[in-house]
Symmetry: none
Subunit: 241 residues, 4 copies
DNA sequence: GATGAATGAGTGTTCATTCAT
DNA sequence: AATGAATGAACACTCATTCAT
C-alpha cells in the first residue's frame, strides 16, 4: 500500500486515488475491486456505496480529465485567438493564420508556447490518469476515448471552440488534413508523453526536467514545420518541401 | 465468430489470428481463453498445447511485430546509411548529416521517405497487433513494451544499428535529445497511427487512403523541422526558432 | 451429502468438518473444492473467504491435531515426570528410570497406562484427521508431517518437553535408539491404529471396544520389552535377548 | 529427470520405474501421466499402449509387492514351522508355541530373527513401493490395501499359510488378539519403516545402517513381550504384567 | 457510512484419455 | 512400437456484486 492513499481525505477520495494508481499500473481489467479497497483502506462494499459499479469509478476519473483539458483549450482560444480575430488583427484562412502586424504574430507565438507549457504541466500532473485514458481509448465499446477530444475540431456549433471562432469569423473552417496532424502529431504525442513519462525516465535513466525540456523544445520547433513568411503562418503547404 | 478465423490455416495459426483479433478489440485482460478458442474454432486445451499460457500467446504476437520492425530498420540502415558512410560520402556528426554532394542527399531524403512509407504500410498491415502493443506497453511489469524499441538507440554494441554505423564511423553517437524526439514524435505517432487507424476513420468518416496520405505528408514535412543548409541536414538546432 | 455436515455450526466449521471427512476418505489430492463445498453446504467461493487456498484448509486441520497431541504430552510430563524429578524421587538416566521407591514406580506405571488410554481416545476421536496426517506425511514437500512430532525428542530448548525435564534434571538426554523405537513402535502404531481403525473393523468384522482393548493391552505389555528390576525401568538393554 | 529412469531398460520398465518414483514422492493423485511420461522419457500415449489406464499402472506396482511379501512368508512357514509341526516337535496352541526341546526353540528363534532381517531388507529394497502402498491403502474404494495382507491370518483354506499349518496341525487357529498385535505392532511398523525410511534419515540426520540396526534390534526384543518359559513361547498372557 | 458474509458466474489452466498415422 | 495433435470434463481459484446489519 502506498502511504498517500491510505488514510488521507474522505473515503471516496481515497477510493478514487487508489483506482487511479491501480488502473494506471495494471489497467482497468487488470485491477480488482479488492485491490482498490485494500489500497484505499476501505471495505470493499463501500465502493459500491459511492459508485454504481467498477466502470463508474473509471468514468468519473476520465470525465474529470476531459473537462480539465477542454477548459484549458477554451481559455486559450478566448484569450489569444477570439480577441484578435474580432479586432480584425488576425484572419484565419484555410491554409494560414494572417496577422496584420508582426508584433501580434510574435505575441501569438509566445502565447502558443506558454499554452503548450501549461498543457504539458497539466497532463504531467495527471499522468496516471492519461495513461488510463490512452489504454482505455483503445478498448472497443468505450464511451470515453481520446478520439472524443476531436469533437473540438468538429465543424458545428455544438463544438464551443468552433463556435467562438465562428462567431467572430464567418469564413473559419477546419480541414481534414489539419485534424489528422493535430491529432497524431499534437494530441497523441502529448498524451503519450504523459502516459510514458515515468517509464521513459526509468528506462532511459533520464532526468525529469531534462525530458520535459526536450519535449517542449520540439513542440515549439514543430511550428517551423509550418512556413512562416512575413506576417503569415502557413500550415498546409509542407508538401512543397 | 468471425468467418476469417474459423478454419483456414493450422490450428496454431488460427489461435494466433483469433488472439490478435480479440486482444486488439478488448485488451489482453479483457479477453478470455474461452473466447480465443471459440473464435479460432479449436478446443480450449489445444491453446495450452501450443502455448505455455495466455501470456505466452501475447508474447509470441508482440515478438513477431518487434522482429519485423527491427528487420525493416536494419535493412534501411544497411542499404542507405552504412554504404554512404563507408564510402566517405556521408559523415554523421552529433548535430547533422553531412553529405559530400547534393545528389547523395537528395537520394537519401528520397530513400528516407520511401522508408517511412514502408514503415507505415507495415504497421498498418499489423494495426491490430500494434494496438495491442501500445496498450500492453502501458501495463506494469511487461517485458514487451514500446520502450524496448528504444534499445535500438542504445549506445552499445548489443544494438545492431549502433554497431553497423559505429563499424564505419567511429565518432557516431546518439544524444538524449534525439532519443526523446525520435520516440515521442516518431515512433509514438506511427504506432498510435496504426492503433487508432480504424477508430479514427470511423469517428471522422475519413477515407483510408486520404488518412494515410495526410499522415505521411506530415512525416515528410517533419524533416523540415530540421534545417537543411547546403549539403547538410541539421537536426539539433531547432532551439534557434 | 452426509446429514451431519450440512447445516450445523458456522459455515467455517462446516467447511472444516467436510474437508476432514473427504480428505480422510479420498486423500487431499483426490478431493475437490467443489466436493467440500457441496458436503459443507456452502458456496465454493466462501471456502476462499475463510481459507487462503485448499492447502490452507489442510494445514489448519493438521495444526489442530498437532497442537492437541502436544498439549497431552506436555500435561503428562508436567504432572507425572517433572514433579518426581524435582523432588528427587525419580532419576532419569540414559538407560533407565530410577525411582527412589516402589510406590512411586507403581504410580508412574499406572499414570503411563492412563496416559496411553487418553492418547488412544484422543487419536480415535480424531481418527479421520490422523488418517489424513499419515497420508499427507508421505507426500514430498509437506510442512506438516508425522516426523515433525519428533521435534519433541530434539535435544534443544526449543523443545518444551526437553526443556521441562532438563530444567529439573541437568543430565537428561535422548538417544537415537530411543527415538527410533518411540517413533516406529510408539507413534507409528498409534497413528496407524487411528488411521486404519474403521477399515480394520470393517475388514475383520471386529467390535470397536474389543479392538481398542487388544491394542491398549499390547501397548502396556510393550513396557515389558523394557526390563523392570527393583525400582528401575531399564529401556535400552533389550539387545541382551 | 533422474538419470536412472531415462533410457535404461525397455519402455515399459522405464514407465514402471518412473511411476514408482513419482507415486511415492507425490502420491497417485498428485502425479500426472505427463510427469510419468517425461520421467520415463517416453511419449505420453505409449503409457496407454502398455497399461489400460493410470490406475492400471498403480495396480501392477502394488501387485508385485504383495506377491513378493507373501512368497517370503510362505517360505518361512514351510521351512521353519510346517516341518517341526509335522514331526511333532512343535505344537501350536492358542496361547503359546510349545517346543518339544530347547534346541528346536533356539533354532526357531534364530530363524525368526533371520526372517525378520529378510523382511526388512525386502521392504527397504522396495521402500518407495511400500510408501505408495501405505498411502493408497488409506484411500476409500481401493482394492489393494495393507489390510488385504491380513488375508493370511484368515481362518479358511483360501489362506495358504493357514492351510499349510492346518494340514499338519488340525487344532491350529488364530485369535483376534493375535491379529491385532501382528498387524499394528508387526506389519504396520515394518511398512511404515520402509515408507518413512528416507524421510527419517533426512529429518534425524541418522545413518542408514544405524537406523536399520536399531529397528531390527527392537523387533527381536519384541519377542520378549511374549513370555518365554521352559520350552514354551507364550504370546497372549502379557496382561499379567 | 460502513462492514462481514455470502454468491453465481466465470477465470486460466490441467487432466486422463483417445486416435490417426 | 511409437507419436503429435486433439478433446471434454474438471480443476483450483477469483470476480464483481449484493445484502443484512
Amino acid at each position: 500500500m502506498k502511504p498517500n492513499c491510505n488514510n488521507k481525505g474522505t473515503a471516496k477520495d481515497r477510493i478514487t486515488a487508489a483506482a487511479i494508481e491501480l488502473f494506471s499500473e495494471k489497467g482497468f481489467d487488470g485491477t480488482t475491486i479488492n485491490e482498490i479497497a485494500a489500497e484505499a483502506n476501505v471495505n470493499k462494499a463501500l465502493i459500491y456505496y459511492y459508485f454504481k459499479n467498477k466502470e463508474d469509478v473509471l468514468d468519473s476519473i476520465l470525465q474529470t480529465l476531459f473537462d480539465g483539458f477542454v477548459a484549458m483549450s477554451l481559455d486559450f482560444i478566448r484569450e489569444h485567438v477570439a480577441g484578435l480575430v474580432k479586432d480584425g488583427r488576425l484572419n484565419i484562412k484555410s491554409d494560414c493564420f494572417c496577422f496584420s502586424n508582426k508584433d501580434d504574430m510574435a505575441v501569438f507565438i509566445e502565447a502558443t508556447n506558454a499554452y503548450f507549457e501549461r498543457i504539458i504541466d497539466f497532463v504531467l500532473l495527471h499522468k496516471r490518469g492519461y495513461r488510463i485514458l490512452l489504454v482505455e481509448s483503445l478498448k472497443g465499446k468505450r464511451n470515453h476515448t481520446l478520439l472524443s477530444y476531436l469533437d473540438y475540431f468538429e465543424r458545428n456549433n455544438d463544438n464551443p471552440i468552433f463556435k467562438i471562432i465562428k462567431d467572430v469569423d464567418e469564413d473559419f473552417n477546419y480541414t481534414n488534413d489539419m485534424v489528422v496532424v493535430k491529432f497524431f502529431f499534437g494530441l497523441v504525442p502529448v498524451i503519450n508523453f504523459a502516459a510514458f513519462f515515468d517509464d521513459f525516465i526509468t528506462y532511459k535513466q533520464m532526468d525529469e526536467q531534462e525530458l520535459r525540456k526536450f519535449f517542449l523544445r520540439f513542440m515549439y520547433a514543430l511550428t517551423s514545420a509550418y512556413n512562416i513568411s512575413g506576417n503569415n503562418i502557413y500550415f498546409a503547404d509542407y508538401e512543397l518541401l
